[in-house]
């Protein structure tokens, strides 16, 4: 175990006392323990890497049932009458007193959905393998009786979960998008195991060719550890790929053309995401185990990096607990940066011209990813445990007031968009599940804005959906089925014009390709299976083939600000509108 973690109570029985919950103020490497008295289900999570789950059932030995047609007693496991879910039914500090009245019944869609998520997340043998063509997908569940709300006995947890959620068939063949993309998509297949590094250091990069829709290369970096490589960005000339190491301390620089290793540079604890700054070509990476974004200078001749400084994400007027930023986003002109602070439930807005955090604004529980619109007038922050998207003002401290601003200026929250709204008029009924026809998300992660600024597309781990927000009025308009552990989203150019939203999932091995269209007609247009033993590689892939899809990077980078920096060879592959997504079309690419 190399990186920093927390052990944090995520789910607990409504009658569990504060002493039966644990949390830590910062990510750490310490041991922890807790004594549990109230019977029922407890789930613990790492707030830095929130796919890390531990489950404990505190079971009363007197709880039994009988087999159908028999009087012989058999064990039945106590799930608990009612449960609390951090960020939904309990929105205070983990160890603060909880309101038992707000807890949800264990015998509910939410209860089943959370149990299913636990077994899928923690059972690699139950991850969705798209190489098993034409077979019915069955996650692995325990076939045991459980006791839920009102003492009701569910005879088989396995049968209940399968009835509620499962039964879909793995397609017999790949559906390729009818229209090619432009360039490549680099995918962090973070859970793949390779021969030389072994189980201890999972992750490879899978490169997909969007002309053929096939895997082009696998890069495991067998002579480095690249422990859980999580996210990437490209240099302005697209010659170099920057790769983070989420369960380690390093950034890696790779040669894009052949995938060869160029540099490993130690930057700090748990570097999560990486982006370049448009105006300086500097590289920034959020240190998820620390308090800062690390800034690196790029040598223009070699493309290699040198660490320059750590930029604290504290509010200078009110410094507090470590922020532990995860997926930051940089403004289109290099003047601003927004971070989702996973440890302080807020977002810092950094203004480069004045070189300071100008706002540190509360968002929701466990903010995990940020993105800006193409003119950097608004920031969208996904709140992982809050199941919502916060919309905040952009702009710089020196920018004249812009229409999107609310009182407070850059970094101030405009609104929250709930994705799993349990209120009377919301989209989700805790007992019965999603309301008919309603768009739904839960445990949202990556949330980029389309390069033309029209839509925000978010990957949702709990519901296995992508959600689409229309930016003109910041309204949730649609959700579409994704895969288990839906996670990464990024936009790439579609040949001839428009964009594809590329989507990855942690517990499946497909890269999904969506055409968002006008929002209402958004649809899945194809996919690429990321397991491919025939693809060229630098080491053989031995386990979890194609699994763990998290960060992804379409090349060329077509976001406003970056797209105008592309070399002519890439620019020439784009349509006039793609070359300048929110301004006048560019008919002829400038010479590089």
């Amino acid at each position: 175990m190399e990186s920093l973690h927390t052990v944090t109570s995520l789910i607990w029985p409504s009658d569990a006392t504060p002493a039966e919950r644990i949390d830590q103020a910062i990510a750490n490497k310490a041991d922890h323990e807790v004594t549990l008295n109230a019977k029922g289900l407890y789930v613990f999570v790492c707030k830095v890497h929130p796919y890390m789950l531990a489950g404990v059932i505190v079971d009363d030995e007197k709880t039994t049932t009988t087999k159908p047609g028999s009087s012989e007693p058999i064990a039945a496991f106590d799930i608990g009458e009612r449960l609390h879910l951090l960020g939904v039914t309990h929105t205070k500090g983990v160890t603060e007193a909880a309101d038992a009245g707000s807890a949800f019944p264990s015998n509910s869609d939410l209860g089943l959905r959370l149990l299913r998520a636990f077994f899928v997340v923690t059972s690699p043998s139950g991850w969705k393998d798209y190489t098993k063509l034409n077979t019915v997908y069955h996650p692995v569940y325990p076939d045991v009786p459980v006791v839920v709300t009102g003492g009701a006995v569910v005879p088989s947890l396995k049968a209940a979960l399968e009835k509620a959620f499962d039964g879909d068939k793995i397609p017999a063949s790949q559906t390729k998008p009818a229209t090619a993309g432009v360039g490549e998509v680099w995918v962090d297949t973070q859970y793949e195991i390779s021969a030389k590094k072994g189980d201890a250091y999972p992750s490879s990069i899978t490169v997909v060719d969007t002309e053929t829709w096939k895997v082009k290369r696998k890069i495991a970096l067998p002579d480095q550890k690249m422990n859980n490589g999580h996210n990437m960005w490209s240099s302005h000339d697209q010659n170099h790929i920057y790769q983070t190491e989420w369960h380690g301390k390093s950034l890696y620089v790779l040669n894009r053309a052949d995938g060869k290793f160029l540099q490993e540079i130690e930057v700090g604890e748990d570097p999560a995401h990486v982006m370049t700054r448009v105006d300086t070509q500097q590289v920034h990476s959020g240190l998820n185990g620390e308090d800062s974004v690390v800034e690196l200078d790029r040598d223009s001749a070699t493309g290699l990096l040198t660490k320059k400084r750590n930029i604290s994400m504290q509010d200078p007027a009110k410094p507090g607990n470590l922020t532990q930023p995860h997926a930051h986003w940089m403004g289109h002109d290099g003047k601003t940066m927004a971070t989702p602070n996973a440890n302080t439930n807020d977002s810092s807005f950094f203004d480069f011209p004045t070189d300071k955090v100008v706002k540190k604004e509360s968002t929701g529980f466990l903010p995990i990813a940020a993105a800006m619109d193409p003119r950097s007038t608004k920031t969208y922050v996904s709140n992982y445990l809050g199941h919502s998207i916060s919309v905040l003002c952009g702009g710089t401290a020196a920018t004249p007031p812009i229409p999107e601003w609310v009182s407070g200026g850059p970094g101030t929250k405009i609104k929250d968009i709930p994705l799993l709204d349990t209120s009377a008029n919301g989209n989700y009924d805790v007992i019965n599940g999603p309301k008919a026809g309603a768009a739904i998300g839960g445990l949202p992660i990556q949330t980029p804005v389309s390069p033309d600024g029209k839509f925000v597309v978010t990957g949702n781990t709990l519901t296995g959906t992508i959600t689409i927000i229309r930016t003109s009025d910041d309204t949730l308009v649609k959700s579409l089925t994704c895969d288990p552990g839906c996670h990464g989203v990024d936009f790439g150019a579609k040949k001839g014009g428009g964009y594809y939203a590329y989507v990855t999932s942690k517990f499946a091995n497909r890269l999904l390709v969506y055409d968002i269209g006008n929002g209402d007609d958004a649809k899945l247009v194809g996919w690429v299976v990321l397991a491919d033993d025939a693809a060229p590689n630098d080491d053989s892939i031995t386990g979890n083939k194609g699994m763990g899809g998290q960060g992804l990077l379409p090349v060329p980078n077509v976001y406003n600000g970056w797209v105008q920096k592309l070399p002519k060879s890439f620019c020439d592959q784009l349509s006039p509108a793609q070359r300048n997504p929110v301004g006048p079309p560019v008919d002829t690419c400038p010479e590089s």
């Binding site: 531990a54 973070q190 250091y201």
Partner: protein, 104 residues
């Protein structure tokens, strides 16, 4: 530990897999020397391994991250097994380092 062993066995049997339910693996086997009271009924080793981030070492229906305990029992999460030396992750890394040329 009667109840825990019984439930663990039931769960494992029902799931068709070997292993118990997350009892501390350091607990002595039944029939051996007089047992020393275990400090925890369940122990999770914190790892970087995909899917086994909180690892009891005991598979139950595909997961190694689920433990069954009795009311009043303790659960431990070990990020370091410092009392027993480096974690297996560090050991693997050390072996790997020793057998691998330095990166360029």
């Amino acid at each position: 530990m009667k109840r825990c062993v019984t439930l663990g066995a039931a769960l494992c049997l029902a799931a068709g897999v070997a292993g118990c339910s997350g009892d501390d693996p350091s607990a002595p086997a039944a029939g051996g020397p007089a047992p020393t009271p275990s400090p925890a009924a369940a122990t999770f080793d914190v790892t970087d391994e995909a899917g086994y981030w909180f690892d009891t070492g005991n598979p139950v229906a595909g997961t190694r991250s689920l433990a069954i305990i009795k009311p009043g029992e303790k659960v431990r999460f070990l990020q370091t097994r410092s009392e027993n030396g480096p974690t297996r992750m560090v050991l693997v890394r050390l072996v790997w380092r020793a057998s691998t040329p330095s990166p360029a």
